[in-house]
Symmetry: C2
Subunit: 254 residues, 2 copies
């Protein structure tokens, strides 16, 4: 079974997912690692947040679907895209529809549903979940859509904190993670400002619901609050789908 990854949205998130698939696989030599086909073709995929905010009419879903189809044709049987914002229904539902229309045989995992399952399995007593994300993910209410039916209350930062801090940590052209490829001190400070707001609002757990954010907040906990990295959860879901016996046991600090 070959894992397929649409790795260009964005490319550092793709790299991060590939690394987490390796790190979460039990293997003592090269040959025991899983088969992974990764296509990073970022040029073709328009910015997901820009589409959700109406700044571009180009739905990135078509390019994403085409890349999944290419992975399937090359042999992938289970696939995912490590981009939370791409899971907004106006994008992800169109990806699914396109793959169905083209009769592509591929099991497509859903990153945010995977996070929901992960919370139920590992944090059964948590109810109030804080989510840090792009503005696109927040506006599209992707996390509430998938976590509220499971009984969670989803907290997100108010517009001032979202636009003035969290969004800039990711997108600022001078110090944002997408521009720099690393988390600058200022990007980390902005991400932490969002995290602190959520803690003060009563979040019992924080989901890093944008694949750039684990670069800025690599910790397993912030004070008493556990941090759940959606990319790590997706890596584990992919391993679980193709080789459950090779999935490393989960620990909060690993």
């Amino acid at each position: 079974m070959m894992i397929g990854v649409v790795a260009g949205a964005g490319p550092f998130a793709g790299l991060d997912l590939l690394g987490k698939i390796l790190a979460q696989t039990q293997a003592t030599r090269d040959q025991e690692h899983l088969t992974v086909l990764s296509l990073s073709l970022p040029e073709a995929i328009a910015d997901r947040t820009a589409f959700l905010l109406g700044e571009t009419a180009v739905n990135p879903a078509y390019a994403i679907a085409a890349q999944f189809a290419q992975l399937a044709q090359a042999g992938a049987s289970v696939a995912a895209i490590p981009c939370n914002t791409a899971h907004a229904p106006p994008i992800f539902d169109v990806v699914r529809a396109e793959l169905a229309r083209q009769a592509v045989t591929l099991r497509l995992l859903h990153m945010i549903q995977a996070v929901g399952g992960f919370l139920q399995a590992h944090f059964p007593h948590v109810r109030r979940v804080g989510v840090l994300s792009t503005t696109g993910t927040a506006v599209a209410r992707i996390y509430p859509l998938h976590l509220e039916p499971l009984g969670y209350t989803v907290l997100t930062p108010p517009p001032g904190v979202q636009q003035g801090h969290v969004h800039r940590a990711i997108y600022d052209p001078d110090y944002g993670i997408k521009a720099c490829g690393v988390a600058t001190d200022r990007a980390r400070a902005d991400a932490l400002a969002g995290a602190r707001w959520l803690q003060e609002a009563g979040a019992e757990l924080l989901v890093l619901g944008c694949t750039e954010l684990p670069l800025a907040i690599p910790e397993a906990t912030l004070g008493p609050t556990p941090i759940v990295d959606a990319t790590l959860v997706l890596a584990r879901a992919l391993i679980q789908a193709v080789a459950p016996q090779k999935l490393r046991p989960w620990r909060l600090r690993s």
Copy 2:
């Protein structure tokens, strides 16, 4: 133009190359990064050193060629494998012959030739080059074969240092980089023992001629001695081949 990477030999080296392609590309947003298709299928590729030492009769060249052919079929036009040992003539010549036999259209870059060109461009005054590698790479004399015709003297550790230290840094089942996926303190100490031997033997520059070694020796220099990471050189050669205008200027400390 799509870059293809045979990324499973070993999978951490593949990941490292993908990260270095991103890091060496000039881009200020996701969409400016290059197109990269990466296939990590380590299960199919027998250990390269084991083959060169006669411990297995299975030449990994056939599996490697099949994976290059798969990348070409999926659209890659320039490709490479981030494994120094796979560039031993008994392996790499067979890869090339297989691709020619199957009429695969693909520009295959050669990691060690790329290192030779890099040394000529950036270290024109260096003559004595120390190489740290697997025992397979050393026994197959891959680096002397490609660097001596350019006028370099290639130094490698004597068998005791090679087997007792350098090889174990990479392969030891308890603390080696391949088993652990990270450089343990002991793996680093073993790699540094090899580096010091080469420095004392008069090496003016050290090539990390095994893709695992940059994990153990991430420094740009060891004392006065510049370190050249063959994986970084290969990343730059791939960018140069598809989008030279996007290649970051090279600096010894970057």
